[in-house]
């Protein structure tokens, strides 16, 4: 029965169509359809018999559409995501923390924040170039450290400009290059 090329092709198609469906349903369905074909076709079916029986069974896609998607089917698509915690790039994380610290330091003293922000930016850019930055930590670090740098430079220039006239207030007194 299953020696008939049309039957073999149909069963192979069905097997493929059932990929991603519940494993037990897949196995049961294939088994039951083999039984069905054996019963319906007997020992020596003609090609017309085979075509008729297969037409009554319907398309393999219609059969597969009636099967329950496998619980594992979700994990198949999740595979790239499941290993993301392991791939969380430590370098990118360090760069991110450094860039945030640099930003905070900026409020204390613009001079202290700038070098740290620069280091964080260099490290973060390197990390993004390596690829695999699934968490986005490296890109966040790039953005934060770049913003810190820009903000630091603007602050410094403002302080320089105002420092020439009158003594800078508060935190700027701590800065090594503040006007005397």
């Amino acid at each position: 029965m299953s020696d008939h090329p049309l039957v073999a092709a149909y069963l192979a198609d069905l097997d493929r169509a059932l990929i991603g469906t519940d494993p037990r349903e897949r196995e049961d369905t294939l088994e039951a359809i083999r039984d069905h074909l054996r019963e319906a076709l007997g020992d020596a079916p003609t090609s017309d018999d085979v075509r008729g029986v297969l037409a009554d069974l319907g398309s393999v896609d219609a059969i597969a559409a009636g099967a329950t998607p496998s619980a594992g089917a979700a994990t198949v698509t999740v595979v790239p995501a499941t290993d993301s915690p392991a791939r969380l790039d430590r370098g990118a994380l360090v760069a991110l923390v450094a860039s945030v610290v640099a930003l905070l330091l900026l409020f204390w003293s613009p001079w202290a924040g700038l070098p740290l922000a620069l280091v964080a930016l260099v490290v973060a850019v390197q990390r993004t170039r390596r690829g695999g930055d699934r968490s986005g930590a490296a890109w966040t670090a790039v953005v934060v450290s770049a913003a810190t740098l820009v903000l630091g430079v603007v602050l410094s220039l403002t302080l320089f400009a105002s420092g020439a006239g009158s003594p800078a207030p508060g935190p700027v007194d701590d800065a090594p290059t503040s006007a005397s």
């Binding site: 037990r24 049961d28 039951a32 359809i33 054996r38 319906a40 009554d56 319907g58 099967a67």
Partner: protein
């Protein structure tokens, strides 16, 4: 036509499995036999093959069980049979179906 197919697919959900149970109510049947019984209802069963994933689910749910029996004309046959749980589920469905159908009919008639 595609829209009609989609609508029928939607309507069959939640109903088909009880129709399979109903077809097994009087006596057990093997796959081809059951498929032949059901093929008379062409709106319900678009193709015979769709019966089999359904039977697998009914087995998993414990509503149908299978037994092998020798056949006079070939290899043994796998027979599908209702379990007491399956019978109870079918009774429940039968009780709910009538008022459900009545409501749908009434809504459709009254809103014309």
């Amino acid at each position: 036509m595609a829209a009609e197919d989609a609508l029928l697919t939607q309507l069959r959900k939640g109903v088909l499995e009880y129709c399979v149970l109903a077809c097994l109510q009087r006596d057990r049947a093997y796959g081809l036999e059951l498929a032949t019984r059901l093929s008379r209802y062409q709106v319900l069963f678009a193709s015979e093959g769709t019966l089999y994933p359904l039977l697998s689910r009914l087995r998993k749910q414990g509503w149908v069980e299978t037994t092998w029996q020798e056949s006079t004309s070939g290899p043994p046959r796998r027979y599908y049979e209702l379990t007491p749980d399956g019978r109870a589920a079918l009774d429940q469905f039968t009780r709910s179906w009538q008022p459900f159908r009545d409501d749908v009919d009434t809504v459709l008639a009254e809103s014309r």
